[in-house]
Amino acid sequence: MSQQTLYDKIWDSHTVEILPTGQTQLFIGLHLVHEVTSPQAFDMMREQGLKIAFPERTFATADHIVPTDMRSRPFLDDQAEEMMQAIEQNAREFAIDFYGLDSDRQGIVHVIGPQLGLTQPGMTIACGDSHTSTHGAFGSLAFGIGTTQVRDVLATQTLALDRLKVRRIEVNGQLGRGVYAKDVILAIIRKLGVSGGKGFAYEYAGPVIEGLGMDGRMTVCNMSIEGGALCGYINPDQTTFDYMKGRPFVPTGAAFDRAETYWRSMASDTNAVFDDVVRMEGASIEPTVAWGINPGQSVGISERLPLPEESGDPDTTRKAYQHTGFEPGAPILGLPIDVAFVGSCTNSRLSDLRAAAEVVKGRHVDPRVRALAVPGSVQVKIDAEREGLDRIFEEAGFEWREAGCSMCLAINPDQLKGREVCASSSNRNFIGRQGSPTGRTMLMSPAMVAAAALNGKIVDVRNL
């Protein structure tokens, strides 16, 4: 019997050739495009007179620069307007589907792909965005790529890639109350390091992972790249297939049954051989907060911030204290915040918004805190409003916004100011990430962001 991993199976079935360089030319089943990393690639296509090889497998949207308050055109920011016009023009000229601001399919590229059923198990996926790893939640191999590689995919629907090793990360047992997928992935990155995944694809498995819904699985796979792994995936199962049913790009009837058969066949064999296996206990994971300047610098909510000498990398820890101004050895509980952000491709799906809304329902945001809830897509927004989540957020003092990347990357109007501290459900706490070179970001689950918003400081959501 075969002993292959999902990675092996997809890799082998998508291999076109071994290139003269020794790399593998891999067919890409789905190419997602957004406005920020594509204009230069389309320019190169034009300059070289190239055509898109598989326009029907190429889909574009706008998410990064889109304002989440006033979406009327032209945008107030000329550069953003120019970038928006570029993607509109490129989509027209190269005849690809584009979900712009007037489409109810618009949203963060990693939210809409799955939602539309474009993202499917057993597929390869590429996008000029490092969080393309998100799509691995469906049992696909999904790679973040640079702009020149975007051109490669546009022109040939393939990439030149090196085969990765596979590390299986098993999270056993179960999660405690108030502990979410976000805490699981933060704990994994803390354990294995921000460069620990280099050269690996991560296979997430075990009862805790299998127990997650698709939204939670996407949260986990989303941050594979923060652990240094180019991609991460979860074997597809009934949860996956149930999610797929009825989505716009998913086949129906007998074709769905054939699809399901194919999807099942692409999962790792029960006796698959892995290059490395790591095991963790779900019960030992607490609500976790990344306090420093990279997502691996995190602590459980009951812990204290590390002393530089005790940390694995004293220099980077010291640099983190220089930037944050936090006190080494202080408890994480009680650190004050100025801004609360629920959103981003990590945590802006319906279940994320529900978790945050449940915490803030009937309560009020601390008057010193600016709080934003930003749905990941127009469809998430519609679904959330149907449940009345918008009213819960607004009554609690959150701003309820339109779909986009918002304060995750802050190349739109949503930004930190000065030294503000943000409790954020996004994925990166890098220096300057949220738009202010001196701003500070703490990463946590949407429920923990909500709890921090109410209290103006980091609290344990389990005690509310």
């Binding site: 230069q40 550069q79 597929m123 702009t147 040939t156 990398d313 300057g432 070179p437």
Partner: protein, 204 residues
């Protein structure tokens, strides 16, 4: 640069930049991603570390006149982690750097370097510590990154360096413009596609 450019040796002085896990948000702050071309990226590397909010330059290796005109960047562990923005290697390259020597690089960053023909090689951490000290002491030391011999050459010694085989071959043979190389196989690409059931939307 054209696709036929063979890249085998980069020579020049070096610029030492210390720190592990230097992410691409630091290399090029996100707001510069709003430009629809790469043409001005050379002005932006480490912008927020090099200039205060008043626009005044701050002490930073990239502002240090002693390292002006350097061709080789010396970095530490996991350089280029984070966002996939090709703007990061574009900015370093357009700033004038033609090779990067580091302890290790993040995966996407390394791929992006290859895509624009910017060699990124690794050496042992102890060696890097010595090199960075040495250049801080004497910025005029001439470096040669030699991809034929896979060494970093200094006047007084030669340090072995590493790079994935495929990357090295691509640079040496001028095959790093992947689009041209990949496009040669378009007929095979269509064959592979026709065998994948999802490409036909499972029509049976």
């Amino acid at each position: 640069m054209s696709s036929e450019t063979h890249i085998n040796k980069i020579s020049g002085t070096a610029l030492p930049l210390r720190g592990n896990d230097i992410d691409t948000d630091r290399i090029v702050p996100a707001r510069f991603l709003k430009e629809v071309t790469f043409s001005r990226m050379g002005e932006y590397p480490f912008f927020d570390e090099r200039f205060g909010s008043d626009g005044k330059p701050k002490p930073h290796p990239f502002n240090d006149s002693r390292y002006q005109g350097a061709s080789v960047l010396l970095v530490n562990n996991n350089f280029g982690c984070g966002s996939s923005r090709e703007h990061a290697p574009q900015a370093l390259n357009r700033f004038g750097l033609q090779a990067i020597v580091g302890e290790s690089f993040a995966a996407i960053f390394q791929g992006n370097c290859l895509a624009i023909g910017l060699p990124a090689v690794t050496i042992a951490p102890e060696e890097m510590a010595r090199l960075q000290d040495m250049v801080e002491e004497d910025p005029s030391v001439p470096f040669t990154v030699d991809l034929d011999a896979m060494v970093v050459r200094l006047p007084d010694r030669t340090i072995p360096c590493q790079m994935p085989d495929a990357t090295r071959k691509a640079l040496l043979e001028g095959n790093w413009d992947t689009t041209t190389m990949l496009a040669k196989n378009l007929p095979q690409v269509r064959q592979v596609a026709s065998r994948l059931p999802y490409v036909g939307n499972f029509r049976g």
